[in-house]
Amino acid sequence: MFYSTRSKLILSFLGISFLVCGVALLVGGQLLYKTVLNEAYTRISLDLNAAREIYLSRIKGIKIALNITSVGPIFKTALEKHDVQTLVNRLNVVAQQTELDFMGVVSKDGKTLCRIGPNSFPKGNTPENPIANLVIQKQVAVSGTVILSNAFLFAENPELAERARIKLLPTKMATPRPEIEELSGMALAAAVPIFDAGTFHGVLYGGVLLNRSQEIVDRVRDTVFQHEIYKGQSIGTATIFFKDIRISTNVLAPDGSRAIGTVGSEEVTKYVLTDGKKWTDRAFVVNDWYITAYEPIEDIFGQRVGMLYTGVLEAKYADVRWKALSLFILITVAGMVFAIGLGYIIANKMSRPVQQLIEASHQVSQGNLSPEIGPISKSEIGVLQKTFKEMLTSIQERDERLKKESEIKLLQSEKQASIGKLAGGVAHEINNPLTGIFTFTHMLLRRNDIPEEVRSDLETIAQETERVRKIVKGLLDFSRQTELDREPTDVNRLVRQTMTLVENQALIKGVNLTFESGDGLPLVTLDRNQMQSVLLNIIINALDATDPGGSITVSTNVGISTSHPGQNGVEILCTDTGCGISPENLNKLFDPFFTTKEVGQGTGLGLSVSYGIVERHGGTIWVQSKVGKGSTFKVWLPTEEKRTENEIISRG
């Protein structure tokens, strides 16, 4: 069953599909995923650039707003007049329009003149304003990231100080630290010097607090990642770190809130914040793996104070990979199922005619020579089917031919047997009266007193009686199934010996008698005397049929039997250029008593006896003839190979 064509076919199909799909799986699963991952790294790197642009553009926006405000005539006039109320009003409008968290004016000696918020007109000392101080010092506009102390924020607006205060939350990969709260704030701020007719009057400052701000990170998420959702979670995330603390992020904590206060992983912090390098790799963010990019944020003093981060959930890519893998597995499985199905169908299609042929062969072996072999296939099997059919036809034909031949042979044998019996009986009965005729004729001939006429008549009677005796003897010879006295014989020698017996007759008649001996003839075990009489009979018949000037050619060959397939033998051919035998006579040729010779010239028993002798040797005798052209007699005798071999060995 396992070795059947069907299993083999299915197995090979399976093998191919397995190979193809396996390679696809490997390529798809590994190579493709790597490419996708690389693509993802490149993309996240670009995303980080975009995020930076958004970050910087916000700073730029603040700077422009302050610039525009500072050059406005209302503002300048109010500043000149120290009309703080007007200034504050103006600041409030601008702050509201550009969504600034803090804004104020600092005098050239560093004192805060006024600001937005609840404490607009501060009295006494105000906490240090790092960005305004830098502008006073440098006398140029400054913008960028600024770290603001809790005191400053509190002075600006207690709400800001409250917003800036972030409780640290531990995460798996974070650096452990002693403090539990971060009070300082990180802000995007700008400050512009206010000049009037070349005189420095003060500084206009303003900015937004990044702590707990959603503005920048969400804008990054919405513009860069277009708020792509994966399993209820935004795929793209952006975070602004203050030092390694997430102060503004849309990465979510397990409880679904923004993961503000969580600390970045130690590895990334060291790489980016300490070493100042850009990080692009997968990283563990809060509690998921992300494909991430980090870069350091420098403040207006050039210090690395924080990090900007963008990241996409790795799960999405893993999912892509998993999806690709599943697809390939699905294709593999489908391919296998298809292979099995296809193999089954093709094997069926292929094996059905084969099965039918097997069944047909079986039937043939049981004797049915016309079994059903089904429709002829168009493939090579079809050739086999056709050949099989042809084979059957030829077997049938051969069968019929053999049957016919054996029928003819049987008929001939029966004829011979019955006629033999009859001849035997008749001969026996005739011999007694013949004895009488002989006796009294000869007794009469002994007398001296009979006239010459009577003696002549009596002699005729005696002669004719002698003829009858010969005929009867021939009959008896024919009826006698004498046993063969066989011995290994060189057929060429036998033929040559026989031909010497008729050489003179041929010479006298003027017929050319030739012998073409075949080479390499095996020895044939035969009764030399009987076979010689057969040959003699055939040659004499040929001689009788051939006119002077004609020829008789006797030849010998190694011959394969036509009626005994596969049996080797020797054939002796006698071809004459005589009168030929008419077709109606050809059928009666071997019948006893059939003769075309004149009365007294032949008994008509010669060929019949020859037939019997050849038959008893297991051979065949065959005639081909054309009236007016001549006849060919063929005697085929089987060689018993084993016996011949032994003969050679024993002789050697």
Binding site: N432, L434, T435
Partner: protein, 131 residues
């Protein structure tokens, strides 16, 4: 010389008698094996000429009986069906000579004389001159 001819066919009997009496033999003829045995019981013969194929008891039976009881009588067997097997059988059983039918007178005479001469030679030394 006394000869007994055994044959079921009258023409053979007649022919043999004609040929042999012309040669001066004393010829007795019988048509069957049984009658031949009766004759042999009461008369002495120098030669037996017999057919093989006869109704009731055949020549083979007769020859066996003769050889059993009168082994010295020479026998010539004649047959109209002279197959080599028959000839061989007959000679094996003790027939002195075989002659196929039909025969010419001279052929029969030749055989009979040959056989008689042979037996005479055989007999002449131990028993003295005979015939």
């Amino acid at each position: 010389m006394k000869l007994l001819v055994v044959d079921d066919d009258a023409i053979v009997i007649k022919s043999c008698r004609r040929i042999l009496e012309a040669e001066g033999f004393e010829v007795t003829t019988v048509p069957s094996a049984d009658e031949a045995l009766e004759k042999v019981k009461y008369y002495e013969f120098d030669l037996l000429l017999m057919d093989v194929k006869m109704p009731k008891h055949d020549g083979i039976f007769l020859m066996r009986e003769i050889k059993k009881n009168w082994p010295d009588i020479p026998i010539i067997v004649m047959s109209g069906y002279p197959t080599p097997e028959t000839i061989a059988d007959v000679l094996k059983l003790g027939a002195t000579q075989f002659i196929p039918k039909p025969f010419r007178p001279d052929e029969l005479i030749k055989v009979v004389r040959q056989v008689l001469q042979k037996t005479l030679k055989k007999d002449s030394f131990p028993t003295g001159a005979g015939g």
